[in-house]
């Protein structure tokens, strides 16, 4: 925004632009108000609104179930907290496998490709079922057959595949000339990766990885399929006992309270990165 110099009268151009700005602000506010009013006025006119309100937006059910949901959400946070660092480490390892250039180590490269192909290609819930029930079914003793261990492992292997692809795209985005320059300075291949390529590559992919971790935060709920009573399952129990879907709305609000700030933060990081370029 170019403001007129202090003390000087606004130019005709500035007056015109500010009028234009005021006008579009008014129009935007007006159209938003019309839409919001239409939703508020028209939806309750639908013949089934009373029934929907009673079963999805039931105040007394909400009040009774919300504290239990919050408590169950702690388990989601815990699962997320121990999965996220392991995903980052495994994802980086797979990405490095895929970037190996020494012909002797070609099997590593093939493994990396196969790994991402398989785990990006499978629905998360399928992996959770197969790993979460299948591996403990082999006869592991307690506590090694815990659904927390194997369910978390399923999340980790799937999300590591996505993270690996994101990191690889970051590595690929660093121009070949940088490797050449590093080698001409006498850096070994490993040192080139460690001191030249990765610091730049990882910084470039932070926003993309943020998005993956927001997705992970939601997918943690899938672990409920193999037993852990986290927020989604707890909401399901309440739903079943009260024949009312309001607990799901409560769970949705709790998820949004975490994911919306995280999404905004990722947006902010991305915008800042664009600004730096």
């Amino acid at each position: 925004m170019s403001l007129p110099p202090q003390g000087a009268a606004p130019t005709r151009r500035a007056i015109y632009e500010s009028r234009l700005r005021r006008r579009s602000n008014l129009i935007a506010a007006g159209s938003t108000a019309v839409i919001v009013a239409a939703i508020i006025l028209l939806v309750p006119l639908a013949p089934g609104w009373e029934a929907v309100k009673k079963s999805f937006f039931n105040g007394s059910v909400f009040a009774r179930t919300f504290p239990g949901l919050l408590e169950a959400f702690l388990l989601d946070i815990a699962i997320f907290a121990w999965c996220a660092p392991l995903i980052a480490v495994l994802g980086l390892a797979i990405a490095l496998c895929r970037d190996v250039r020494n012909p002797v180590l070609f099997p590593l490269r093939a493994f990396g490709a196969l790994y991402t192909d398989i785990f990006r290609g499978l629905p998360v819930i399928l992996v959770i079922y197969l790993v979460g029930f299948g591996i403990p079914g082999l006869g592991l003793p307690r506590p090694w057959n815990s659904p927390y261990i194997w369910g978390s492992l399923a999340l980790i292997v799937v999300y590591a595949a996505y993270v690996a692809e994101v990191i690889r795209s970051g590595i690929d985005s660093i121009h070949q000339s940088q490797r050449a320059a590093a080698q001409s300075l006498g850096l070994s291949e490993a040192d080139t990766m460690r001191y030249v390529i990765l610091p730049q590559a990882l910084r470039n992919v932070v926003p993309a990885n943020m998005n993956l971790f927001i997705a992970l935060q939601k997918d943690v709920a899938l672990l409920s399929f193999i037993g852990p009573v986290e927020i989604f399952r707890q909401a399901g129990v309440y739903k079943s006992l009260m024949a009312n879907f309001t607990p799901y709305v409560g769970a949705a609000l709790i998820f949004l309270a975490v994911t919306i700030p995280a999404t905004r933060y990722a947006d902010y990081l991305m915008a800042r990165q664009r600004g730096q370029r």
Binding site: G48, A51, G137, P141, N145, S224, I226, L241, M242, F245
Partner: protein, 275 residues
């Protein structure tokens, strides 16, 4: 002569109008989804002994037989009964239903009663402990004290969850699953020691689905403050409810309901009671 012919004419008229109604009695007229037909919903899949072979239209299995008995009581011939499949969530969602009544071991609770209508109960179930012989030889005993210490599982969509808390009160939080198949998978994987089900379901799972499975014992229905009573689920404010309730009362009074129960659920009587 005149009174007689009048009476004859009246009798004729009555039989003609009776034939015109074709199906259903005076109570149900115009209250079903499709006139002259009764649409009954069951689970997908529906398990034995509630429905035999997942074929409710065969009339075999406890709930299937009860459905046909209720239909007959309300004046529907077996051919006028249609079956649809719904999940629990579909049964309780707001809006128009695609069934006249829904029958899949729905327990009657006051909270659910606020959202949907239930008929009078057609069965009162004991709760039973499903486990494996391996767990039993590892020292799981049919006493509440022993059962407190084991890792429990249950189907999250059933009233087994509050029952478990009320009757046993396990030391560790139970694991909950989306359906019977997942509970049995967890037992098989050794992730849980025992699971709480209604008795007939537990017997079926132990016999058929769980390898090495066994029913450790039962908690009789009168053990709980809120015994598990199954009712037909209907839309909130269903006009059909009085007709269904009348039919269930008639079946209970005539002993027909007990007869069907004896035919399909008789094994349920031989299970030891847990103290």
């Amino acid at each position: 002569m005149k009174p007689l012919s009048l009476a004859l004419a009246a009798g004729l008229f009555a039989s003609v109008s009776g034939a015109a109604l074709a199906a259903g009695n005076a109570c149900t007229a115009g209250k079903t989804l499709t006139d002259g037909k009764l649409t009954v919903a069951t689970g997908n899949p529906a398990y034995y002994p509630w429905v035999a072979d997942d074929k409710p239209e065969s009339g075999k299995g406890f709930e299937s037989a009860v459905a046909y008995a209720i239909a007959a009581e309300m004046g529907f011939a077996p051919g006028d009964v249609q079956w649809v499949r719904t999940s629990f969530d579909e049964a309780i969602q707001p809006g128009a239903k695609n069934f006249d009544f829904n029958m899949q071991q729905f327990s009657i609770t006051p909270e659910r009663e606020e959202m949907v209508d239930f008929s009078l109960p057609y069965y009162t179930s004991a709760m039973a402990v499903l486990t494996t012989n391996a767990a039993v030889s590892n020292g799981v005993e049919p006493t509440v004290d022993s059962l407190k210490g084991v890792i429990w599982g249950a189907d999250a969509n059933t009233t087994a969850v509050p029952m478990l808390m009320e009757i046993v009160g396990p030391d560790r939080d139970p694991m909950l699953y989306g359906d019977n198949a997942d509970v049995t998978a967890a037992i098989q994987a050794g992730q849980i020691d025992a699971a709480l089900f209604d008795l007939p379901t537990a017997l079926y799972l132990a016999a058929v689905l769980v390898e090495d499975g066994t029913v450790l014992g039962q908690f009789p229905a009168d053990r709980s403050d809120n015994p598990d009573q199954f009712g037909l689920l209907m839309e909130e404010g269903s006009a059909l409810k009085p007709c269904v309730d009348a039919a269930i009362t008639a079946l209970t009074d005539s002993g027909k309901l007990a007869e069907i129960e004896a035919q399909w659920l008789q094994e349920a009587t031989g299970v030891p009671v847990i103290d």
